[in-house]
């Protein structure tokens, strides 16, 4: 019965993802990369480059299938049996969840360089062109009359990162946890609508024209310019923000069954190559390679970056303290409403 339930869940997930997943061809190896929502365009480019690279280095053909949806929804699908060869997520908690289910290795963080996160991103502000409200830094967001559009931390990793960035920004300037709490509470008083996910937030800000500032991932600037044209918004780099790691892992359960460990390893390693890092940078995702980062310094303006570990222990702990039911977010945002 569990198996039946699982297959129903998988069927629903497959139906929800936009990329068509055809059954693997017999003669040709294929990998399934289960990834988060907004990485769709990035992996489309990366996969094409990897297929060429793999053909050149090994002489073999390979096909990469993609599946995209919300990061946590994807992790649940993989845990419930979706046969991913690799997972590429935007929050480490999603991979930790898979590790706790024994689907990926317990020590997945050490299997690849840089905490198994080939790319990172950070939270920036998007304001309307010309910055009519003169928003420069975090403190401007809690001024009366400013409307901030942000993702609900309960339903999206984007929202959790925005919350932690706001909280950590106070600590990075030498503030106390009490001051951080007050700041975050004031910030969410200026939030008129909670979006469900990153793309929903962008839609609310740009299509519905709600709010003065959108807190979102740096990579969304590229997407916004592609979708809505240049000159609609400008990115504001606050004095300090958070590093969000984009972790990757091999799904041991699948590669052992399919015998695709080698290919999966080559695929994820390709993300660290100069070519892979270039593709990431073009999509607004911060590369780890210094040389590539320098090349794109107009996009990735330097700002003081802090890690989740610096102020919150780990994302898992932050989840428990801040976002779980009855946590600090519930208290800060629901009190007084």
């Amino acid at each position: 019965m569990r198996a039946l339930f699982k297959s129903l869940v998988i069927a629903a997930t497959l139906a929800a993802t936009t990329s068509a997943i055809s059954p693997p061809a017999q003669a040709q190896q294929s990998l399934l990369n289960v990834s988060y929502d907004v990485a769709r365009e990035f992996y489309k480019d990366l996969n094409a480059a990897f297929v060429d690279h793999y053909k050149k280095t090994t002489g073999q053909d390979i096909r990469i299938d993609q599946s995209h949806a919300g990061s946590s929804a994807q992790a649940r699908a993989v845990a419930d049996g979706l046969e991913a060869d690799v997972v590429t997520m935007n929050t480490t908690t999603d991979v930790d969840f898979l590790a706790s289910r024994g689907v990926v290795a317990q020590d997945w963080r050490t299997r690849f360089p840089d905490n198994a996160a080939p790319t990172t991103s950070t939270m920036l502000f998007l304001v309307r062109d010309g910055n009519p409200k003169g928003i420069k830094d975090w403190d401007d967001l809690i001024k009366p009359g400013i409307q901030v559009v942000v993702v609900n931390p309960k339903t999206g990793g984007n929202g959790r990162m925005a919350y932690l960035a706001a909280w950590g920004n106070v600590l990075s300037k030498g503030g106390t946890p009490g001051q951080a709490q007050e700041f975050v509470a004031n910030l969410y008083k200026n939030v008129p609508v909670l979006a469900r996910g990153g793309r929903d937030a962008t839609g609310i800000f740009l299509q519905r024209n709600i709010g003065d500032v959108l807190i979102t991932f740096e990579s969304e600037v590229v997407s916004v310019e592609r979708e809505f044209g240049k000159g609609k918004v400008q990115a504001i780099h606050p004095s300090a923000s958070i590093i969000a790691e984009n972790p990757v892992a091999i799904v041991e359960r699948t590669v052992q069954k399919k015998g695709t460990e080698e290919q999966a390893h080559a695929y994820l390693t390709f993300l660290y190559s100069p070519e892979g890092q270039q593709i990431a940078a073009r999509h607004g995702i911060r590369p780890r390679l210094e040389s590539v980062l320098k090349q794109y310094q107009d996009t990735f303006k330097p700002l003081e970056l802090f890690t989740v570990e610096q102020y919150f222990g780990s994302l898992g702990e932050a989840q428990k303290v801040h976002f779980n039911d009855g946590g600090l977010f519930d208290k800060l945002y629901t009190v007084g409403r």
């Binding site: 019965m1 649940r76 909670l194 519905r208 519930d330 629901t334």
Partner: protein, 273 residues
């Protein structure tokens, strides 16, 4: 009196029905209950009675009730016009009634937000007047009215078509006013159907997700529907908590559907009498 049955082999057909119902409906639902059972009783109570969850029940059921009531009146009007009058384009309008059924609910939500948001087609004229219909509770009710309308129209329409106009004429001949005719002659005939349509629209609204989340604003304690609370719990890998809330919804929905079935039995009896 087995020979009187239309379909032969009562035992086989009953067995098939139970098997099919079990596979398609009961097994998935019992998985829901089984997941919930991993919670202890106090944990279950905590999960389903936290203030945010309770606020979401109130919103979900309150908005659904309001939308279903509005639909009961508006749906009756639409059905009445479609049955009793003939005008050019009537078939076209008759077909339009079903559109909220056919439309993917997310599309309905986006379409409503496009129209009602402050910069939307309609919203831009209402916004200066201080009327905001999107991203608050009003938006939720409007979305639920939209998706619930066909239920009322389609249950009332056939009954109106079958109702005997001679009775109305007789009432008028005997000196009844229009209002009296409506209350004493027409309403009793269509009431069971109207109530069924109301209950169907209500039940559908309770489970509605796609059309609502785009227009709700999703602010905890204010405009967060129960379906969103369930998704939120899943996003934090709280499977048991999510299924616990789902079970509460399931229970309430079952009571609703039981009630609808009762109404339908009542309606059939009256029709037969």
């Amino acid at each position: 009196m087995a020979h009187k049955r239309v379909l032969p082999g009562f035992n086989i057909t009953l067995g098939y029905s139970l098997l099919y119902l079990g596979l398609v409906v009961l097994i998935p639902l019992s998985a829901l209950v089984l997941k919930t059972l991993s919670l202890s009783w106090p944990q279950f109570v905590e999960a389903v009675t936290s203030p945010r969850v309770v606020a979401s029940y109130q919103l979900t059921f309150g908005a659904s009730l309001l939308a279903a009531l509005v639909n009961m009146v508006l749906g009756l009007l639409v059905a009445w016009v479609l049955v009793r009058y003939s005008f050019p384009g009537k078939q076209f309008i008759d077909a339009i009634v079903d559109l909220p059924f056919a439309l993917p609910t997310a599309v309905a939500g986006i379409a409503l937000a496009t129209v009602l948001a402050n910069n939307g087609w309609v919203g831009q004229f209402l916004h200066p007047l201080g009327i905001e219909l999107a991203f608050n509770q009003k938006g939720i009710v409007i979305a639920l009215i939209f998706i619930g309308l066909p239920f009322v129209v389609r249950t009332v329409q056939p009954v109106l078509e079958d109702s005997e106009r001679e009775l109305e004429e007789a009432a008028l001949c005997l000196g009844a006013s229009r209002l009296q005719t409506f209350i004493k002659v027409i309403l009793p005939t269509i009431l069971p159907a109207l109530l069924t349509g109301f209950a169907l629209a209500f039940a559908r609204a309770i489970g509605e997700y796609g059309s609502v989340i785009f227009i709700a604003g999703n602010v905890p304690m204010v405009s967060e529907i129960t379906s969103l609370v369930i998704i939120g719990k899943l996003e934090q890998y709280d499977y048991a908590g999510a299924t616990a809330v789902a079970c509460v919804m399931l229970l309430i929905s079952f009571v609703m559907l039981f009630f609808i079935n009762g109404l339908q039995v009542w309606q059939r009896k009256r029709a037969g009498a």
